[in-house]
């Protein structure tokens, strides 16, 4: 299945060739966020917020075809 990954802030350094951090990935059906992160070779300790289709999720969330996955380190503002 194909999903869209969006890396933000410091996580973009994992894909330096993609300045805006947005790319698609073809992944096995039914894998979790944690398994996706492992496939992308991103250190899970750096991920503080996960959003799937704009909804806050955890590492054990199961992904579906067409999902939009936003990954963020700990950041804040206001």
């Amino acid at each position: 299945m194909v999903i869209e990954v969006r890396l933000y802030a410091t996580l973009r350094r994992y894909r330096p060739s993609i300045p805006n951090g947005v790319f698609t990935a073809d992944i096995p059906d039914g894998i979790s966020v944690a398994e996706l992160v492992e496939k992308l070779e991103i250190d899970p300790a750096e991920i503080h917020m996960i959003m799937v289709n704009g909804i806050g999720r955890e590492m054990d969330g199961i992904l579906a075809d067409g999902d939009r996955i936003g990954l963020f380190p700990a950041v804040g503002g206001g």
Binding site: R6, Y8, A9, T10, R12, P19, N20, G21, H48, M49, M51, N53, G54, I55, G56, G70, F72, P73, A74, V75, G76, G77, G78
Partner: protein
């Protein structure tokens, strides 16, 4: 012995008094709000002779504690008609505290049509005529230069800009920062209150003052201050992220969460987010170099350094304190897709002295109303510059979002108590909606920043799209914020102390060591509650009721994409926020 300075602009009498006993343990917002509640007639006209303006440093201002340089400014708001506390960085708070000035009160109103400068020094207070060249449309950057030349480069300065002189409802009070740039007590039109008193500027010269305030227990203070700084540096947000990306890092997060209000609150997401994001701001500043700085502190003692200097293509300084809320309003809400256009607008708003939230949201409202084209940054800059003249259109824009919306005949006007709703859609992020609705200040995200827990996963997590847990979240954050706003601390310390208990304990320990007290965490909570109750009682006496604690009706029946959420709290549920 700390002093209370009162300046009567009717008689030009100056009184330097002992601090009234009832205010002895208060500072910052706790002091400004108690003072306004005690001395300002709740039903007075905000621009009439019975309103009063008060400046007060926080409990820890003037110490070596990190982040302790915030100044609270209070009065009855010309924008909302409620009580108002607006706080700011800059150099003013630390100077006041070191000089032993617990509060500066400006009251009365001159009969003559003439502007003045109040000059405060160790030898007393004088009232000078304002230099002619800074009156009648002179920008704030230039006014700082003129006042520095006249009073010396190291003085602190508070300024009513052109908007304040014209007593526009969005006028801010601008404060000189450590590098002669501008910080703002932005919200609620307190610059109009200052202008109504015919005070163009307050200049403070701490030459001859002690280097630090007295400490009851210096060793304990030093130890607690160290623990506090370490907590700030250890937390990933206050220790690293704020300095790297500034507050504008939120564009991508709030956009991804579907809560970034777009095109006058008709959607919660944009597709040009990366043109205006904190990541892009950081990359642009880094690439352009020159005078640009990715991180910068708004006051001496700031170690989080969330501000920045944003340069033009040639590396020349355009603006600083270039915040998420301003970028959001002009970018997502008004559709201006060029970060340079937004930077010039930010500078122009600082220069004319208006709240960059209310006026930026008013620009989007003006676009919906057909006054200028959607997304047109040049047209927006033109009408902001008209505020300095002021042309009739400049005056209208400086009236703020509520007035522009009303004059354009719109129902979709994002305000609560006439103050513009900032950068988080209350339909998709419900905790912040409760804060907008119920805070004593009119729509204000900082009054109870539920985004921390609804989106950023700081201080736990409460699902932003569900109602469960939001009432308690908004209530507890509003109480904590009222307390933090009384300490002189930057509110961003909350990111660290919500997650790191020893950081919170160190904050209490610092207050105890400064004053020789033995406060506990419960006392801090009690202080926050008492401030909110005093503010709410003032608002009630000014004519505000629970019926004013409501969001604009369109949030109830216009779904917000992508989640298609609506505002679904009942009046009874909203009213529970202040049931404590």
């Amino acid at each position: 012995m700390d002093k209370f300075i009162r300046v009567d602009m009717t008689t030009k009498q100056i009184a330097t008094l002992d601090v009234p006993e009832k205010y002895a343990g208060l500072a910052g917002r706790a002091l400004t709000s108690n003072f306004v509640a005690d001395e300002v007639k709740p039903t007075c006209h905000p621009l009439g002779k019975n309103n009063k303006l008060i400046f007060a440093p926080g409990l820890l201002s003037g110490t070596t504690a990190a982040q302790s340089g915030r100044l609270s400014v209070g009065g009855k708001s010309p924008l909302t008609g409620t009580i108002k506390e607006s706080n700011t960085g800059g150099t003013f708070s630390q100077k006041m505290a070191k000089m032993g000035i617990k509060a500066l009160v400006i009251e009365g109103m001159p009969a003559e049509d003439k502007f003045y400068v109040i000059k405060i020094g160790m030898n007393g207070v004088v009232i000078d005529d304002a230099p002619a060249e800074i009156i009648g449309g002179c920008g704030n950057y230039k006014a700082i230069e003129v006042l520095n030349a006249k009073y010396g480069p190291k003085v602190g300065i508070a300024l009513a800009g052109p908007a304040g002189e014209y007593r526009l409802p969005t006028a801010n009070i601008s404060f000189k920062d450590p590098e002669d740039h501008l910080r703002s007590a932005g919200r609620g039109g307190l610059g109009a209150l200052m202008g109504s008193k015919k005070v163009k500027a307050v200049v403070i010269d701490d030459t001859g003052a002690p280097l630090s305030v007295p400490l009851a227990k210096p060793e304990e203070f030093k130890a607690a201050a160290k623990v506090f700084s370490q907590a700030l540096l250890k937390h990933p947000v206050t220790g690293q992220a704020l300095a790297a990306y500034g507050t504008d890092v939120l564009i991508n997060i709030v956009n991804e969460a579907g809560g970034l209000p777009a095109r006058n609150f008709t959607s919660g997401r944009i597709d040009f987010n990366d043109k205006i994001s904190g990541e892009t701001m950081n990359a642009t500043i880094t690439e352009r170099g020159g005078e640009g700085k990715v991180s910068h502190g708004c006051h001496a003692g700031c170690i989080m350094r969330c501000s920045q200097w944003y340069p033009d293509q040639d590396g020349k300084y355009i603006t600083s304190g270039f915040e998420y809320e301003t970028v959001w309003a002009l970018g997502a809400d008004a559709g201006i897709q060029d970060l340079d256009d937004i930077a010039y607008l930010d500078r122009a708003m600082d220069d004319v002295g208006v709240d960059s939230i209310d006026v930026s949201v008013a620009i989007a409202t003006a676009m919906e109303g057909g006054l200028i084209p959607w997304g047109d940054g040049k047209a927006a800059l033109d009408i902001v510059k008209q505020i300095a003249v002021p042309t009739p259109l400049g005056r209208i824009l400086g009236g703020g979002t509520a007035i522009v919306g009303k004059l354009c005949g719109l129902f979709r006007v994002p305000v609560v108590k006439d103050q513009a709703i900032p950068a988080y859609d209350p339909r998709s992020i419900k905790g912040i909606g409760l804060t907008y609705a119920t805070t004593t200040m009119g729509a204000d995200h900082t009054a109870g920043y539920a985004i921390a827990t609804n989106v950023l996963k700081i201080g736990g997590y409460v699902d932003p799209l569900k109602k469960e847990g939001q009432v308690e979240l908004s209530r507890n954050l509003q109480i904590a914020t009222a307390a933090v706003d009384s300490t002189g601390m930057c509110l961003f310390i909350a990111f660290a102390i919500l997650d790191i208990p020893e950081g919170f304990n160190a904050l209490v320990d610092m207050i105890n060591a400064r004053y020789g007290l033995s406060l506990t965490a419960d006392d801090v909570t009690a202080l926050g509650k008492s401030v909110l109750k005093v503010e709410r009682a003032f608002n009630a006496a000014a004519g505000f009721s629970n019926a004013h604690d409501r969001l604009p009706e369109f949030f109830e029946y216009e779904p917000c994409p992508p989640h298609n959420a609506v505002w679904d709290f009942t009046p009874e549920e909203i009213d529970e926020v202040y049931n404590f």
